[in-house]
Amino acid sequence: MRGRLSVPVPGLSAEPEVAPRVQSGERAELRRLMERLADGDRSAFRPAFALLWPQLRAFATRLVGGPDGEDAAQAALLRVFSRASEYDPGRDALSWALGIAAWECRTLRRKRERRREQTAGPLERLVAPGATPEEAVIERDLRLAAEEIAGTLRPLDLETLLAVASGARPASGATFRKRLERALARFRLAWRAKHGKE
């Protein structure tokens, strides 16, 4: 897939969106190239790289979004070539590669979440004075989920939502209201895509 993707939504399965767009000729060609690579034919490396990299980048960007997607795509690409000798010619090469990419995306996301939990200060962990530990955990999880969704929004949408949250509304009310409605709609859409409910 050569085109640019729309707004990335983490957690949304991207394989059904990416895979069908790949032409069957390219798919078959990739299969042949991976088969040759598995057999040790080095001349298949460059064309396989040229076919795989855009697919993996599109897939990972769709799944994780932004620079994280690029990182995950690179890790997935290296993993795919590292495991090329194990490739079973009976399997579809693209599905196999996307499976590896999905795993890399999940690993990267978990790493980021763990790091965020570790770096969160004691004040951030303390959600509300007097709240029960259960309430605190629920609120923290909700906040993390909202932050994750916000990270996938367009910069303008994010700016609008942050302006509302901080109480700094600009003067032109009607324009801002429309922008806010659109930002909230996109936020809800992304939330539903990830969590399935509001």
Binding site: D39, G40, F49, Q74
Partner: protein, 180 residues
């Protein structure tokens, strides 16, 4: 492409990953070769001789498997085909048969020839499937001969020659028949 092109850097890294992956894949054969050598030593083969044969067999298996292609595909069939030639004389030795002088000609040498015959038949059959590629055939024969030699040296040079004769005697008719 420019030197600092990130795609080029990624391609280089991907290429390195591929080569390392192939090496890791090829090294999976090493335990089988080491176990074969250990079995030969455990059954009374001289340590130095077994070590010398392993020093040739191990890099050959790993190198061919790493390189890949028809020769790489011949490594595993070669190891499997050489296993009977390795096992038969060793099994005969472990059941109490002493391989000295004429006694050796009665049991150990025929065992080497039979083991070689099995190896030859297996390799010939698999070579037919690989369109009788000479690289496949050469790699499989070399690996099988070295694997079998780990056991067949029990009968000295005659054992190894007998095994090779068995390989040729069993393999050639199959290959000729397949060509017709």
């Amino acid at each position: 492409m420019e030197r600092n092109d990130p795609t080029l850097t990624l391609e280089t890294r991907a290429r390195r990953s591929y080569e390392l992956g192939r090496l890791r894949h090829a090294l999976r054969l090493a335990p089988f070769v080491i176990v074969a050598a250990a079995a030969a030593v455990a059954c009374g083969r001289p340590l130095l001789l077994a070590a010398a044969l392993t020093c040739v067999l191990l890099p050959l298996c790993v190198g061919l498997s790493f390189t890949g292609g028809p020769a790489g595909r011949g490594v595993v069939p070669g190891l499997l085909a050489g296993a009977p030639a390795l096992a038969m004389p060793l099994l005969i030795a472990t059941v109490g048969h002493a391989c000295f002088g004429e006694a050796c000609l009665s049991l150990c040498l025929p065992a080497c020839v039979v083991g070689g015959g099995i190896a030859g038949a297996v390799i010939a059959k698999l070579a037919v499937r690989q369109a009788r590629d000479p690289r496949f055939l050469a790699a499989a024969l070399a690996v099988a001969a070295l694997t079998g030699a780990l056991g067949c040296t029990i009968s000295g040079a005659a054992g190894v020659l007998g095994m090779l004769a068995g390989v040729v005697a069993a393999g050639t008719p199959l290959l000729v028949a397949a060509r017709r």
